[in-house]
Symmetry: C2
Subunit: 422 residues, 2 copies
C-alpha cells in the first residue's frame, strides 16, 4: 500500500472514531512527518486527500482542522426523529392484510421481471404502451372515459401527474381546490406560480374529487356534476377530475364521471391504483384532453416517467386478466363491511352518539360534546381525523380500513372513554 | 335484465359499432318507444344513462345526438404514432443483457414482496428509513458524502427529486445549467418560475454534473471542482451536484465529490441507480443541506414519495449485502471494455478517422468531413449523438452500452459508409 494512504487512513480513523473532534487542530505537515517518520511530501499528499474527502480543512496561515461535515453526522444521527407508536389507526386509510392477494401480484411481478429486454431501456415518458392500451379499455368500460392510449399518461402517484399538468397548462393562471386540505396539490400549483383559490367556480383550472369531496367521503351528486360540467364549458375552464375512491362507492353503478358527462372535452381524468391494490404500489394515470396530449407530445423530452417499469408491466397483465375488476369488488365489500362493523359497535356502546356512515362507505362521521383535545386520542395510541373542536363540540371521522376487524371493539371502548360518553 | 338496460345497450351498440356517427340525430323518445315497443319512461331512463355515459347529448328544443367523445376515440386510434425501428443504438445509453444479474435482483424483489405489512402502508415522503440508512453508509464510503439518513430523500428519478428542490428553494431565483441539453431540468425550473441561465457562475443555484459535464462524458477536473466550491461558498449560492455516471470513471479512485470538497455545506448531492442497475429500475436519491432538510421536515405533508416501495426495500437489501459495489465494478469493466472494442474497430476500419474515447470511458467522440445529415444514420437504422454539422464537418458521439459486442463490426461498417470514408 502507498505510504501516503497509510497516513490518510491513520488520520481518517482518528477523526471518524471521534478521537479528533470537530474544529480540532491537526498536526502540521512538519509535525506529522516527524511523528510518523515519513517524508513531508507523503504527509502533503495524505492531507490533500483528507481535505478532498472532507475530513479536514486548511486555514491559511494557521494550519489544518477537523471539518464540520464529519461531526454534523453524529449530531444529526442523535437528532433522528422517533415516530410515536399508533396502535389504533383510524386515519391513514392504509390497507389491511386481508384486502389484497399479494401472492397473485407476486406472480405478475415475477413474469414482468422475466421480460429482461424491456427492463434494459427507460420507460416512455407517457409510460408503457401496452399498459396504456389496457388502461384505455379499463377506464372506458369502468367509467365511460373514452380516450385512446396516446392520451393516457402513467405516473407514480397523483402528485407526479399534477406536476406534469402544471407544466402543460401554463396558458392558465388560477386554480380552484374544493378545500385547503390537499396540501400536495396546492403547494405544487403554488410552486408553479398559479393563484390557488378555494371553491372558485370561475378559476381557469378546477380541481375536483367528485367521489371524495370531503375527507368525510361525501360524493358529488349527479345534478352538481352536470352543473359543474356545463359551467366549466361555458367558462372555458379546465376541469381536473381526480376519481380517487370512486371504486368504493356503495352504488352498484357509481355516479358517472365528469369526463363522460362532458361533451366539450375540457376534463382531465385521473385515476390511481394505490387504494384498489395496496399503497405500496405507486401507480396512477391521467387521461389528457386532446389539446394537452398534443402539448405533451411536443414537450416529450421534458418529462421522465416516474412509475416503476416492472410494476407497469405487472399491472398491465393484472388488468388484462380481469383481476382489477375482481379486486375492486373484493375491497368494496371488505371495507364497507368493516365500516358497518365499526358503526354497529359505536351504536352498541354509545346508543345516543351522533354518528353516520359517509357516502362512499369508507368513513364514519361523529359529532359529540367534547372539551378535550386531539392529543387525548393520541395518548391512547389512536389516530383519527379531527375536523373541528370548538364550543365544547368535536367533529371527527374514523377510517377503519387499516384496523383489523377484531380490534374494533377495543377501539370503540377507547373512543367512548376519550369522549367521556355517559 | 331491466327493460331500459336493453334499450341502453341497443343504442350503445349502434353508436360504438359506428352505425350511428358523431352528430347523428338519435330517434326521439316517442319514436324509440314505438320502434322498440317499450314505454316512453323506459326510453327516458335509457337515454338518461346514455347521456350520463357520454354516448349521446341532448340539444334543448331539438333532440338527442351522438356525442363527440365516442368518435374522437376512433380518430385518435388511427393517429397512434408508429416509432421507427432502431437496429444500432449508439445513443440511448440503455443497458445490454449481460450488464445486470436480473435473477439476483428478482430474489430481493421476492423477499421485499414477502414483507406484506410494510407494503400495506404508504412510503414516508423521504422514502423508506432502512434504505436511507443504507444509502447514508453507501455514499459516505463511496463518495465521502457524510450525511445522516434524515438528510437523504429517495425518489423515482432525478427529475422527481428536482421537482422537490424547486419547492424547497423558493428563496432563490436564478439557476445555472452547464448546457441547454438537460431539458427535463430546465423545463422544470422554468415552470417553477426560476430564471434559467447557461454557465452562469453567479446564479443563486448552480446545477452541475461533474462526472458527466458534456454528453461527450468529460469529467470536471479537481482544480475546477475546488474553484467552483470556493466561488459558490463566497457567493452564497447553492450547488446541485448530479453525480450521474461517476460510477463509470476510469480511475480506480474517482475525483472527489463537490459535496466532500465543500466545507460550507452548500451542496446538494444527487445519485441514481438507473445506470448502475438497469434503466427499468427508477431509483434516485439526494442528500439535502441541513437547511433544506429542515425545510423538508416542515413541508413534509406537501410531498408524496414517488419510488416504488417494493423496489426501495429490495435495493436496501441489495446494498447491505454489498452487491452494488460488485455490480459497479462489473459494469465499469463491461462498458469500458465495450467502448474500447468499438474504438479499436473504428481504428481498424478507418485508420485516419479523428476519434477518441471520452474521459468517463462510456462514449467515443468523432470529428469527420461530412456533407450529409443526421437522417443518413437513421436511414440505416442507427441512432448516434450528433452535436454539430457545419462547414462540411460533423461532430458526434457514439455510446455503445446498449449495442451487443458482436454487432459492433457491422455498426462501424455502416458509420464508414455514412461518413463516406475512403
Amino acid at each position: 500500500m502507498k505510504k501516503y494512504i497509510e497516513v490518510y487512513d491513520y488520520y481518517k480513523n482518528l477523526i471518524v472514531s471521534g478521537q479528533y473532534k470537530k474544529g480540532d487542530k491537526v498536526p502540521s505537515i512538519r509535525e506529522s512527518s516527524s511523528i510518523l517518520s515519513v517524508s513531508k511530501t507523503t504527509v502533503q499528499s495524505a492531507y490533500f486527500e483528507l481535505q478532498a474527502d472532507g475530513y479536514i480543512i486548511s486555514q491559511p496561515q494557521s494550519g489544518y482542522y477537523v471539518s464540520d461535515a464529519v461531526h454534523t453526522l453524529q449530531a444529526e444521527e442523535a437528532a433522528e426523529p422517533e415516530n410515536e407508536k399508533i396502535i389504533y389507526d383510524l386515519k391513514s386509510g392504509d390497507a389491511d392484510s386481508e384486502s389484497f392477494d399479494l401472492a397473485l401480484w407476486q406472480r405478475y411481478i415475477k413474469s414482468a421481471l422475466r421480460q429482461q429486454d424491456r427492463l434494459l431501456s427507460y420507460s416512455a415518458p407517457k409510460g408503457e404502451l401496452d399498459l396504456r392500451e389496457a388502461l384505455s379499455v379499463y377506464v372506458r368500460e369502468k367509467r365511460n372515459v373514452v380516450a385512446s392510449p396516446n392520451r393516457i399518461v402513467v405516473g407514480a402517484g397523483v402528485q407526479a401527474l399534477l406536476g406534469i399538468l402544471c407544466l402543460l397548462m401554463k396558458d392558465r393562471s388560477t386554480v380552484s381546490f374544493p378545500t385547503d386540505g390537499f396540501e400536495q396539490g396546492i403547494s405544487l400549483f403554488n410552486g408553479h406560480g398559479y393563484d390557488v383559490h378555494i371553491r372558485d367556480k370561475d378559476a381557469d383550472i378546477i380541481y375536483v374529487s367528485p367521489s371524495h369531496m370531503t375527507s368525510y367521503g361525501d360524493v358529488m351528486p349527479i345534478k352538481r356534476r352536470l352543473e359543474l360540467v356545463r359551467y366549466s364549458e361555458q367558462n372555458g375552464s379546465l376541469v381536473i377530475e381526480d376519481d380517487y375512491d370512486s371504486d368504493f362507492l356503495y352504488q352498484s353503478k357509481p355516479t358517472p364521471s365528469l369526463f363522460a358527462l362532458s361533451g366539450a372535452g375540457n376534463v382531465v381524468y385521473m385515476g390511481s391504483f394505490s387504494n384498489v391494490l395496496i399503497p405500496g404500489i405507486r401507480l396512477s394515470f391521467m387521461v389528457l384532453t386532446s389539446e394537452l396530449a398534443e402539448r405533451f407530445e411536443k414537450m416529450q423530452s421534458c418529462f421522465a416517467q416516474t412509475a416503476s417499469k416492472t410494476e407497469q408491466i405487472a399491472l398491465c397483465g393484472y388488468i388484462r386478466d380481469g383481476h382489477i375488476a375482481a379486486q375492486t369488488r373484493k375491497i368494496r365489500r371488505h371495507y364497507t363491511a368493516k365500516t358497518k362493523l365499526l358503526f354497529d359497535e359505536l351504536k352498541k356502546q354509545m346508543p345516543r352518539l351522533d354518528t353516520s356512515i359517509s357516502e362512499n362507505g369508507l368513513a364514519i362521521k361523529i359529532k359529540a360534546k367534547f372539551d378535550g383535545g386531539k392529543e387525548d386520542f393520541e395518548n391512547h395510541g389512536m389516530s383519527v381525523h379531527v375536523y373541528s373542536i370548538k364550543d365544547g363540540e368535536i367533529r371527527l371521522a374514523l377510517i377503519p380500513s387499516a384496523l383489523e376487524a377484531e380490534r374494533i371493539p377495543q377501539a370503540v371502548t377507547i373512543i367512548k372513554e376519550v369522549l367521556d360518553y355517559a
